[in-house]
C-alpha cells in the first residue's frame, strides 16, 4: 500500500519527528505531521485525504485538544479510521471523553511498535497487544 497516508497530530516535537522517521523507515506510507489543530487546519487538503489519523488527546495548555481535532475532522467529512493517543491515565476526564466518542479507539502511550504499525496499515489493533 504505497500511497497510504497517515496523519499524526502530536504537540511534542521530538515524538512527532520520531513517528515520522519510524513510519517512513519501516513502511512506505506518507506521514502528515501536525503539532496543533491549527496546523491541521492549515494543511486541510493533505489531512483530509489521509487513510488513518492518530490524534494525541492533550495538545498542551490552553490548546484545543485531540477531541476538538476529531470533531473538526468529522465536520470536514473525514470518515476514515481515527485513533486517539494519550499519555494520560484511562480515567482522566479527557480520555474518558474520548472513550465516550466510541467511533475512535483510544491507545495509551507508549504504544507497542507492532501495534502502531498494524493500526496505521489498517489491520486494526486487536490482533496485537497495544
Amino acid at each position: 500500500m504505497p500511497d497510504r497516508r497517515v496523519l499524526i497530530l502530536e504537540d511534542d516535537q521530538d515524538l512527532s519527528k520520531s513517528y515520522e522517521e519510524m513510519i517512513t523507515l519501516l513502511t512506505s506510507y506518507k506521514v502528515i505531521i501536525a503539532n496543533s489543530l491549527r496546523d491541521m487546519q492549515n494543511s486541510r487538503e493533505d489531512v483530509l485525504v489521509c487513510d488513518v489519523a492518530l490524534l494525541d488527546i492533550d495538545l498542551g495548555k490552553d490548546e484545543p485538544s485531540g477531541i476538538d481535532a476529531y470533531k473538526w475532522l468529522n465536520d470536514q467529512g473525514f470518515r476514515n479510521k481515527v485513533y486517539f493517543l494519550t499519555g494520560h491515565a484511562r480515567n482522566h476526564p479527557l480520555v474518558a471523553q474520548a472513550v465516550l466518542i466510541g467511533a475512535a479507539t483510544v491507545l495509551t502511550k507508549p504504544v507497542d511498535i507492532d501495534c502502531l504499525l498494524n493500526v496505521i496499515s489498517g489491520e486494526g489493533h486487536s490482533n496485537v497487544p497495544c
Binding site: 521530538d14 519510524m22 523507515l25 499519555g87 480515567n91 502511550k109
Partner: protein, 283 residues
Amino acid sequence: MSPVNDHKMSMWRASVMLAGMAAGSALIASIGFLFKAPIQVRPMLAASMAELVILIILLAFRKGARLSLSIPSFLLGTVVVLSAIWVNQTFYLSTDLVHEFFAGNKILALGIALIAPPILWVGITAIFAAGIAPVVQFALLAPQMRQKLPLQEPWLTWIYIAVALALFLFRRKWHETQLRSARNEARALVLQQFAHLLINAQHLTNTPLQTIENSVAVLRARCPEQVELIATLKRALARVKEVMKLFSNSDSYIDWREMELPKTVAEFEMRLNELLEKVKSQG
C-alpha cells in the same frame, strides 16, 4: 499548624476564656450587689477590672501566643477569681443572708475543667487552688463562724474538685486524641495528594517513552547488526513500561475533579516541593 504552635494557641485560648468569663461574671456580680449590698460592689468591680486587664494584655500579645504570658495569665486569673470569692464568703459570713458557701469555688473548678488548659500542671494547679482556698478559709475562721457553714463544708467542695479533676483529665485526653486524629488526617491527605501527583505525572513520562520506543524501532531498522544493544534497550524500556503500567492501574482511585495536572516537569517539581514542604511543616 505545628504541634508546638497548637499547644501555645490552646493555652492562650484557655487563658483568654478564663479572663473573659471571670471579668463578665464579676461584673454581673457587682451589678447584683449594687442595691442589695453596695459594700460588695467595689471588690467585685476590682476583680472584673483585673480580669479585663489580663484579657486586654492577652489580646494585645496574641501574636506568637507565648506560654510565658498565657500560663501566668491563667494562674493570675484564677487567683483573682479566688480572691473575689474569698471576699464574698467573708462578707456573707458577717451577715445572716442566705448563701450557698463555696459555690464560686465549685463553679470555678468545673469551669477550669471545661476550659481544659492543655498543660497538665496548669490545670491541676488551678483546680487544686479552687479546692484549697475553702479549706484555708475554713481553717482561719473562728469556731463560732465555722458553725455558719453547712455541715459538710469545706469537704463537699472537694467532691466537686475530684469531679473537676476527672473531667479535666478526660477533656485533656479527648483533646489530645482529637489533635492526633486531625494531624493523622492532615498527613494522610498530604500523602494521598503526593500519591495522586505521582500517578498523574505518568503522562509526563509516557510521551518521552513513546519517543524512545519509536527510536529503538528506527535503530533496529537502521543498524540491524546492533542486536545486543537493541535487546538491552528493549529490556530496559520494557521494565520502565511495566512500572508505569503499575502506576496507571492505580488511577481509578483518583478524584480527577480535585486534581490539576502538572503540565510540565517544572510544574511537577514545584507541586512536589509544595507537598514536601507541607509534610515537613507537619513535623
